[in-house]
Symmetry: C3
Subunit: 215 residues, 3 copies
């Protein structure tokens, strides 16, 4: 048992971290919804919808910074310091990756948005929602949350689905797209979208580790 | 001297970590051998051989998870907690990168496998073996293992060879391949293979740090 | 307040870290200048100028290794161990990224160096200088350095400028470059240059965190 875990039985826990982390989950969930709107939009509307995604990314950035400042000012945290830090870094990475994926669509502007891209965006949005739900459960630390663990399993399954989709699409793309610039654009966009589901999956693994460690 | 190092003289060491870490090395070594089989195979056999690589990657994933669970349940570890964690993360990354490199070959299926790709796979396999040998030596912690340090130097040299190979090949590719889709496929595959040797090199650096720190 | 911070009031601080970290900053600043020379050079001179960049990267590598060895041998450091480690890792990443960006120019050798690439190199060089100045201020730990904080803000602004430049250029490139191999070369080079400014920005964030934490 880690020292911090032992001490945590003796000292009242600071709980300002929960509202902050919940807020990050809330913003992430909004970003996931905005991504779906964005990817289904007409080209003319995409610039405007991207602004929303960017603003969520900035908002989460500010919240993560606040958590880090708090971590430096707090002697005992409800979890080990590094667990909170790693969790927030990965949440930040998730929003960065949603942002850079949609940015790539805007910059490269392929002739059309493939169905597989829309489906991966649906998976990303569902993953953001699962993270949001799981993060809300962290406040029940001490009693194992089946709801939160279920979301972690869901994140694993969603990433698996995204992998299959991605692979099938890439195989199709390299066999059938003969315009090499178009192929390059679509490859770059799909890689970034798929990478986003890797990150949401790793968020799930971190949440699971935290739950298992403290119950 | 770190606190954990001081305490480690006073308390009997848990040594369940050594068998686990050795096992990861064993699986990694198998994955390196499977990669050579894969890259030299006929196209028709590649799917089947990839399944082997994927299964090693999953096996190592499970072992790394077990190490992380043990880390959370163990007060004193033979090394500092973060050293074990970082080592296992990089071992995991190595297997992920072997997996994604071979996956790229399958997905993009270039017209031919260049000799340079086969040579880098040989380097990766030799690197996996060097890691396997070095990890087995970690149990002799406390007396400096020349065998393990030699493997770390070897990992450095192997990465250097891979770098040279990669650079020469990329220069050649961009000068001579005029089919841009083919060029893109080969570039992507070679980048991922080269990245794998960066990771094996960083595993070597971590092992060296651990040896130097505890002897 | 972290334990290390409390103890740091009681014990004389080791200050061998400051000269080492200053030296890394000095080498980084030189690498930034060498990058500008490199990107503005004739093709025939590029190989020779690249050697300089590579040698700075190696020099910094050695300094970072020395810091890590010292960290393992020192009980109390002027800052928390992980802060020094993270800072040095990112400084190392910065030099690696300057190295790999210029290496890509050499390997892919596009028909011409776009103005946007030169401008991003100017931004990278200015970022290296800002890091160099900020690192020198770390020795005044305990009294908040406005000079250092100003450099961190500058790093943020420079990354923002690089982002805008990058995006405008990529949009232009994908709309106007019809030679797909040339497009691929320039995309790869610009992505690596832009990534370098992401890293210098993250160095700025780490320095800022350290300043805020210890004053």
């Amino acid at each position: 048992m880690a020292i911090n875990t032992i001490l945590s039985f003796l000292v009242p826990k600071e709980n300002k971290f929960f509202p902050l982390i919940n807020n990050i989950g809330f913003v992430l969930n909004n970003a996931g919804k905005a991504l779906i709107e964005f990817i289904n939009a007409d080209k003319e509307q995409m610039d405007g919808l991207y602004v929303k995604i960017k603003s969520y990314e900035k908002e989460a950035d500010g919240l993560v910074d606040t958590v880090f400042v708090e971590l430096n000012n707090t002697f005992l945290t409800p979890f080990d310091r590094e667990d909170i830090q790693l969790l927030c870094e990965r949440l930040d990475d998730t929003l960065d990756s949603i942002n850079s994926s949609s940015k790539r669509v805007l910059l490269f502007m392929p002739n059309y948005i493939p169905e597989a891209a829309i489906e991966i965006c649906n998976i990303i949005s569902a993953s953001c929602e699962a993270i949001y739900i799981a993060l809300k459960e962290l406040k029940t630390i001490g009693k194992k949350s089946d709801l939160a663990l279920g979301q972690c399993d869901k994140l694993h399954a969603l990433e698996h689905d995204a992998d299959d989709l991605y692979e099938e699409y890439m195989k199709h793309l390299f066999e059938n797209e003969h315009d090499s610039v178009e192929l390059l654009k679509l490859k770059e966009i799909m890689q970034e979208l798929e990478r986003t589901t890797d990150i949401t999956h790793s968020v799930g693994k971190i949440i699971k580790t935290i739950i298992v460690k403290y119950t």
